[in-house]
């Protein structure tokens, strides 16, 4: 970076995270060195502008109470349905069937059952059949990792691809 200070020093200095002694030393240099002092002032100016503009953008999305309330209630309703063990959609069951059909010759049916169950548990659902569509990517990520351990990396890659195509 500039002169004797690395970018690590600059980051810690600008964030106020530099130890007091080092901070005092660096400020002494910034007072003595016109180039570094100028750089410090300009970086702080940029920082201030970014903070102000970022805050304005953040506040330009006001809380819409009605929409928020509707969305939260809809969300809670969806969760309630899943908690009540409502049978899963056909498409999700089809996906699981496709996975089973593909994985069984590779890993054996017992291993496939265990892998699907373990992947579901790691996705925080009680069973593969209870898997909501929104958790499919996470489920597939877990299943691929488990398949890799049980049946090897090539199988894991293939399973991930089948899961992607099935969705």
């Amino acid at each position: 970076m500039n002169h004797k200070y690395s970018w690590h020093h600059w980051v810690d200095y600008l964030e106020g995270a530099l130890p007091e002694e080092q901070r005092a030393e660096m400020e002494e240099h910034l007072r003595a060195c016109e180039e570094c002092g100028h750089l410090r002032n300009n970086v702080i100016a940029v920082e201030n502008k970014l903070q102000l503009a970022g805050k304005r953008l953040r506040n330009s999305f006001p809380l819409n109470q009605d929409r928020t309330r509707q969305a939260v209630e809809s969300c809670i309703e969806s969760i309630s349905k899943t908690d009540a063990a409502v049978p899963n959609s056909t498409s999700m069951l089809d996906r699981l069937t496709t996975l089973r059909a593909f994985m069984t010759p590779l890993c054996g049916s017992g291993t496939v059952t265990r892998a699907l169950r373990a992947a579901a548990q790691r996705t925080a659902v009680p069973s593969p059949e209870a898997l909501p569509e929104v958790l499919w990517p996470d489920f597939m990520e877990n299943l691929s990792a488990i398949t890799g351990v049980l049946c090897g990396d090539p199988a894991a890659v293939l399973v991930a691809e089948v899961g992607r195509l099935a969705s």
């Binding site: 304005r56 953040r58 209630e73 969300c75 809670i76 309703e77 929104v134 996470d138």
Partner: protein, 189 residues
């Protein structure tokens, strides 16, 4: 969970308190407050990335459901916001992939073309105008830092990149913007 929990909806919920209460109890009432507190943040996250209001709200709901399902698996409660934005980013990626045949060509970091163009800028567009000269991945990090107000560590978690990389990228981006600011000042003198 019973519908109607959102009756606990607060006008201006204290977001951090809502997060802490939900992570501590996992209760239905706490989730209602958490969802109310985070919904606008999520809609903003997706809207900034060019999604229409309806899609942004749908994805926001998906993210909230995932949080409800997976909160128990969050080992370090301190890293909630990083984890939260990681889920949002994954949902965005999934959405983009589902809606584009050429998924491998998707650049998740690229902002929508309307953001940061030259010409008159509204107060809301000012931020995009500022970060426009940066690379797409730098722009995303700057949004997380200055719009979403995340710490360096939370950004590292959200993007699954090392903390040092986040620090360097933000520093480097600020250096680039400093150069641009200096040049524009020199030109105007």
């Amino acid at each position: 969970m019973k519908p109607g929990i959102a009756a606990d909806f607060q006008d201006e919920p204290n977001e951090r308190e809502a997060v802490e209460a939900f992570l501590a109890t996992g209760s239905e009432a706490a989730f209602g407050k958490l969802a109310s507190a985070l919904f606008t943040r999520l809609v903003r996250y997706f809207s900034i990335r060019g999604l229409d209001a309806q899609t942004a709200e749908e994805l926001a709901q998906d993210v909230l459901m995932i949080i409800y399902r997976k909160a128990e698996m969050l080992r370090n409660k301190e890293s909630f916001y990083g984890w939260f934005y990681k889920i949002a980013r994954n949902q965005h990626l999934q959405h983009v992939r589902q809606h584009k045949r050429e998924a491998e060509l998707v650049d998740l970091d690229r902002l929508p073309p309307s953001s940061g163009q030259a010409g008159e800028t509204s107060q809301e567009d000012e931020f995009f105008h500022w970060i426009h000269p940066l690379e797409p991945d730098e722009q995303q990090i700057m949004i997380l830092r200055y719009v979403e107000d995340l710490t360096y560590q939370e950004i590292a978690t959200a993007l699954s990149i090392p903390l040092g990389t986040v620090k360097w990228k933000i520093f480097d981006a600020k250096m680039k913007l400093t150069d641009i600011l200096s040049q524009s000042r020199e030109r105007s003198m």
